[in-house]
């Protein structure tokens, strides 16, 4: 295990940012800390980097106790959401910064910086100032800068949070490929479940200062530990007392045996997907999403007011909420 976080707690005044958190982060992998804003994930990352101090608990990095170590002694690379580019230094000098601090020979610095600039595709921008780069380029520069000192762990705090949707998507694919090349233990914070599912080897779901679940993207998606994890990883709806994913519901016209009968209330078509809201006999509104093809296969007769039946497909994950469906009926599907 590369990073061990043991029983870490952190308060800011009355606010509990982390409440007895323990996580083991494996070497050489890309781990996502996923959770809603204010859930404590950034605080945990900053504690690992030494930029915040835990009130309680211990941190060890690569087997070495780092709890009381100052950030400059931890050998971690840190990438900030807003880049934290050194504005008065050129791209080259930004990347060279950590090596210059370590007083490495000039030739070695030049070689390493050029290698890194090539890695992040910024060779031709070496002499520019950060203000002359786009957001995505600045963040790649920040990554190269963090990698320059050959950190034992690379920590990224919402690295793509300040970028627009398209660049964001490009950069996260690029980060995945970069990680496959460089293999440095990487932890990144995100509140975007799609980003975490797409990029990470392992995801730690953090909410209200506690770890909700740790696992691979598949484990989290297929076997969510509780309704929070299930809700956070994508849209959900409730069928009876069970929380399910709308695309895991099978919808048929008529009332076949073994399924829950319902009446179509609303049909919304969004691009390739059709969202059908149906009300069950108990008065519960259930959302089912179908592909356009699946919807057309139902036959032309299905419209508002049509009788249909709903069934959870075999093997699809569901979480028991233990809540009374009739009382919850109004809230579901919104």
């Amino acid at each position: 295990m590369s990073i061990e976080v043991a029983n870490v707690s952190k308060r800011f005044g009355d606010f509990v940012a982390l409440d007895d958190v323990s996580v083991s982060i494996p070497s050489g992998q890309l781990t996502a800390l996923l959770g809603p804003s204010g859930g404590g994930k950034s605080t945990l990352l900053r504690i690992i980097a030494g930029l915040e101090h835990p009130d309680d608990g211990r941190i060890s990095i690569e087997g070495r106790d780092a709890t009381l170590l100052r950030p400059q002694r931890r050998n971690v690379g840190f990438v900030f959401q807003h880049y934290a580019a050194f504005k008065h230094l050129s791209v080259y000098r930004n990347v060279a910064f950590g090596l210059e601090i370590r007083k490495r020979p000039k030739d070695e610095i030049r070689e390493r910086v050029q290698h890194l600039l090539a890695l992040v595709h910024l060779e031709q921008f070496a002499d520019r100032l950060p203000s002359q780069l786009s957001g995505g380029q600045r963040q790649r520069m920040a990554l190269a800068r963090a990698l320059a000192v050959e950190p034992s762990v690379l920590l990224l705090d919402e690295p793509f949070g300040a970028l627009d949707a398209k660049v964001r998507k490009e950069l996260r694919e690029w980060l995945r490929r970069l990680h496959d090349e460089v293999h440095v233990t990487t932890v990144f914070v995100t509140h975007d479940q799609e980003e975490a599912l797409e990029v990470a080897d392992e995801i730690v779901v953090i909410n209200e200062g506690r770890v909700e679940q740790i696992g691979s993207p598949d484990q989290l998606y297929d076997a969510p530990a509780n309704d929070f994890v299930m809700r956070f990883l994508g849209p959900v709806t409730q069928l009876g007392s069970r929380l399910v994913r709308p695309h895991d519901l099978e919808l048929r016209a008529g009332e076949p045996y073994g399924a829950m009968p319902a009446t179509v209330q609303r049909i919304v078509r969004v691009g390739f997907e059709v969202r059908v809201e149906a009300v069950t006999a108990a008065g519960q509104t259930v959302l089912a999403t179908l592909s356009r093809t699946q919807f057309q296969a139902l036959g032309i007769g299905v419209g508002v007011g049509s009788p249909v039946s709903l069934r959870l497909v075999d093997g699809a994950p569901s979480v028991d909420t233990g809540e009374d469906p009739a009382a919850e009926a109004v809230l579901v599907g919104t």
Binding site: G50, N75, F86, I101, L133, V149
Partner: protein, 280 residues
């Protein structure tokens, strides 16, 4: 932003009569209060050529006074710069009890009349009756009626100028760059020298220039503290007053002109360099 494009100049409506009236009021105000009086000093100085300036600089006591003023101003500026930058870092980067009180206290020199500052310093460091002065005098350090007192008075009145320039820039800067430098292995001193100082350098330069101008021109506090001994503790501003009181008008104008031109030159030089450096 690399893709920042200057927007096409939009066609604005023609300025109305109120705009013109405001422009005239502002211009008249500045001319009557600042430009005209100052230019009169210059005109009177050179009313009969360079004679008065030459005469002024021929008097060894006056030359001494100008030397003293410049020396004192430079020492005061150095002290205020080091102290000011340190104090700004303390105020912006650290939390401690009494911080707001300290911040309010730092504005005191701007709000209190310099002559009060001079009297206060005399009460503390006065050679005979001061609270601390006799002790220092026994140790061989004379403060009041000597150059150290003049420096102290000048430091006092120019104290907040560097701080008030640097603090907003430090706040704007935030801590991300400094934290990034730490995580890359830089210690506090390296981070300050390589990251913080370059980022605040123009605020420091501007604070230094303002302090220098203020220090050169300080009159009230210095008058109380210096003792105004001819050829020893008389500073340039005191020379101006002395010549004015003795009906040596050309001499007073010439000295005043020299004083003002140094300050104006500082501000002009900085305002010429600054925008170029910051343009991106």
């Amino acid at each position: 932003m690399a893709d920042r494009v200057r927007p096409a100049r939009s066609r604005r409506p023609r300025p109305g009569p109120i705009t013109y009236a405001l422009r005239i009021v502002v211009s008249a105000y500045l001319i009557l209060l600042v430009a005209w009086p100052v230019s009169l000093v210059a005109r009177n100085t050179f009313a009969d050529g360079f004679g008065s300036v030459r005469e002024l600089l021929a008097d060894p006591d006056t030359v001494h006074a100008f030397r003293l003023t410049i020396t004192v101003a430079i020492i005061a500026v150095v002290i205020n710069t080091i102290f000011g930058v340190g104090m700004s870092l303390l105020l912006v980067r650290f939390e401690f009890p009494g911080k707001r009180l300290l911040s309010a206290l730092l504005d005191l020199p701007l709000s209190v009349s310099p002559i009060v500052a001079g009297l206060a310093l005399t009460l503390v460091y006065g050679g005979r009756t001061g609270w601390f002065g006799p002790t220092l005098e026994d140790l061989g350090l004379r403060v009041v009626f000597a150059p150290p007192g003049i420096v102290a008075a000048t430091v006092f009145v120019a104290l907040p100028l560097v701080i008030r320039e640097v603090v907003p820039v430090l706040e704007e800067l935030g801590t991300d760059q400094e934290l990034a430098a730490h995580s890359l292995g830089a210690g506090s001193v390296q981070t300050f020298r390589r990251i913080t100082l370059p980022a605040i350098r123009w605020a420091v330069v501007y604070g230094v220039v303002l302090s220098l101008a203020r220090s050169l021109g300080e009159f009230g506090a210095v008058k109380v503290v210096s003792g105004n001994v001819l050829g020893e503790t008389r500073t340039a501003t005191l020379v101006v007053e002395e010549k004015d009181l003795n009906f040596d008008k050309p001499g007073a104008y010439a000295a005043a002109f020299l004083l003002a031109s140094v300050s104006v030159a500082c501000i002009v030089v900085v305002s010429i360099i600054r925008p170029k450096e910051q343009a991106r």
